[in-house]
Symmetry: C2
Subunit: 428 residues, 2 copies
């Protein structure tokens, strides 16, 4: 006897059974609808990318141990993309001359990270990416943040279900400069701040002090109090002014749940100015949903042209956690409207031809012409979450009158052939 | 100066710029619509699979040199799926007890093969897969073939644009038995027949003769003439009768472009009975579009339960070639309906608020509030293939009357704010 193969999927990735797939499709539909409402068009690319794409400017964390990278038989180093922005920058740089600006693009790629699976983090997830190229003004940030909030609202989220944290890389730079932090220290410091909430206050303080010494108190006080930060940099500081203008413009666009958060660092290294994250406000799921910012220099990796850009991204795994926490995921129902079942073998032809007739009317119909009992067939239909069931026998074939069982509502109605379409539409 | 990174994608895979992506979405939409019309629901899975999944029963060609297989850092052998059926069988076997039969599932996965890219064959492609589980009768084959032809017709193809070749593995077995071909020889022989049309007649004959000897003439004559094959096996042969019944049932379902083709082998090893392919009839593109068949034993790899199954699959690359050959691909038009452009900086607020108003009406709107010239903005809009353009100045803000430019038809119309939605809908 042959050894049986394990039915598990590969570690840390998901199988999408129809009910799971419907959730993904629900998420994707919201991303697509809202993006297109704002004039964005969809692009895509293969998950296979030359490894060198990630060596230049991604966060160190990503480049090192956390990607799937292998050498193909032709000696090429290939990476399963861990994020979409480098691919996007590559594609924009490749056709820079043919692409009209401003460019509004979105995509829903699957991304891969080699890490130990945990809540909210798997080895493969889908990520909604939306980016605008060619706009240097804050209107780009306002539009991108507006779309992100609209997407969440599309799923039924309320304004107070999430909050928008914003910061500016340039403000961080200015603060560093005032505190005599050298360029070499800035990167390490940003990583320490990024992990601030995960460690004890004292440990955080020690790590900062070890790096920047006597200015530690000034530095940490400024991080902890926007008031102190602003007075330290001065109200005339161009980057502070810029951030305040952004907050005002967001308010004008109806977005008020915005919090200036000087400790917001973002993991990726290519951001150049404003950065933002959208957090779930529910204490049971305090996670980042969206993350993004301005990255004006990324296309420079490929050519001398710089194209200003702002983008944001959200993963499906964290989004599903968010929607589950707030009870916003829809109940599964099959895409199929009705199962037509033959009573006897001699009813097969009529069952199949009625099915065809309904299909041409735009109704999704499955047939069951097996010789199982009617009880079994109804049970199957219920299990498939199909709402309606019709048994087609010789009486029905002659009279063209059908008993339609509404399985979800446990009701039954007599409907004639011509009325079936309207009946289904008005009863769902 | 930093060395620039090449903007090319990885060898043999595609970037999907918005126009390319729209083609894919058009293809996927057709697959989804028709599948769901027949009561099929969508499933999905990660492209990462345990390598052992492919070692048991795929075609040898696939297992050997043609997959992307690598070892992860945990020592697991991983394969980028080269086909979907093993994943499907794995998923069905895993939840066999919870899944009601008959099961109707479809998917549109991306698949990977390590091979030299050529026309119609890339290293990554998308493939429509549709399968029915739990039906032992020919109704399963009829339904699957019906759906495949409906999908092609959904894109505008005519019946005579393609033909459906069918064969039976069991007829091939019977023919082999009559010609004293041993079980060991059958597999090699099927591979020789699979390549028949690619070699000279004489070379084909020699290859067969080398393998089976004196019965070569009988064997080849039967392959070349259905009449001779049938009289050799006898009209009462159960597998011949089954095939004729299938042809009759297809005819009853309105499918007449069916050709019994004893040389049709199909590359994959898990088929157990009827196999079929759909070919483009255009001499400029004589390629196989769809391929499939019955595979009743595949779930046996995972458990002792056998679940009868019939499925078919079609790749996007060959489908695009088919639709291009028959001039059936739609012209690209942006999903965006209109670009609203501010005339001066002071018109920004009104432009943005009009955009929001139209969006709540369900219109896809992009704004252009840059300070570029109106001529440049119109040029950009045209290049984006957006049909309408409106310049929003102070006159328009006051009168709520807008000059709508129809860029595709080079016409202009005066429309008031309330009338904009109807205007767009009725002019596209």
């Amino acid at each position: 006897m042959m050894k049986k193969i394990d039915t598990s999927s590969y570690k840390g990735v998901r199988d999408f059974y129809p009910a799971d797939m419907q959730v993904e499709k629900h998420l994707f539909e919201g991303m697509r609808t809202v993006s297109e409402r704002y004039g964005y068009v969809e692009y895509g690319a293969s998950p296979l990318e030359p490894a060198e794409l990630y060596k230049a400017k991604s966060g160190e964390e990503i480049v090192n141990e956390q990607t799937y990278t292998f050498t193909d038989r032709g000696g090429r180093e290939v990476t399963l993309r861990p994020e979409m922005t480098p691919t996007l920058a590559r594609m924009v740089a490749a056709k820079k001359r043919d692409l009209p600006l401003p460019l509004r693009w979105y995509s829903i790629p699957n991304l891969f990270r080699y890490e130990n699976p945990q809540r909210g983090r798997l080895r493969e997830h889908f990520q909604f990416n939306i980016d605008i190229f060619g706009i240097t003004t804050l209107d780009a940030e306002v539009e991108i943040i507006s779309i992100a909030t609209e997407v969440l609202k599309h799923y039924g989220a309320q304004t107070n279900d999430f909050s928008i944290l914003i910061n500016s890389r340039k403000i961080f730079q200015d603060l560093c400069n005032i505190c005599d932090v050298t360029d070499d220290q800035k990167y390490t410091l940003s990583k320490i701040i990024d992990k601030k909430d995960k460690v004890e206050k004292e440990i955080f303080r020690e790590a900062v002090e070890k790096l920047i010494g006597e200015k530690t108190d000034v530095f940490i006080e400024a991080l902890n109090s926007n008031q102190k930060l602003i007075s330290l940099l001065g109200e005339e500081n161009i980057n502070i002014k810029n951030l305040i203008t952004l907050i005002e413009k967001l308010e004008q666009a109806g977005i008020t749940n915005v919090v200036f958060t000087p400790t917001l660092m973002r993991g990726l290294d290519y951001y150049t100015d404003i950065v933002f994250e959208i957090f779930d406000t529910d204490p049971a799921n305090r996670r980042s949903l969206f993350g993004g910012g301005r990255y004006d220099n990324l296309t420079e990796l490929f050519s001398d042209d710089k194209v200003p850009a702002v983008g944001i991204a959200m993963g499906d795994v964290t989004l599903i956690d968010f929607l589950t926490t707030h009870n916003l995921l829809p109940v599964y129902r099959s895409e199929t409207m009705v199962v037509l079942s033959s009573v006897k073998e001699t009813d097969t032809d009529h069952t199949l031809s009625l099915a065809q007739k309904l299909r041409t009317m735009g109704i999704n119909v499955a047939t069951d012409i097996t010789d199982r009992s009617m009880g079994d067939k109804i049970k199957t239909t219920l299990k498939l979450a199909v709402p309606f069931f019709i048994a087609v026998g010789s009486n029905e074939s002659e009279s063209k009158q059908y008993k339609v069982k509404n399985l979800l509502k446990e009701k039954e109605a007599q409907v004639n052939e011509e009325g079936l379409k309207d009946f289904f539409v008005s009863n769902t």
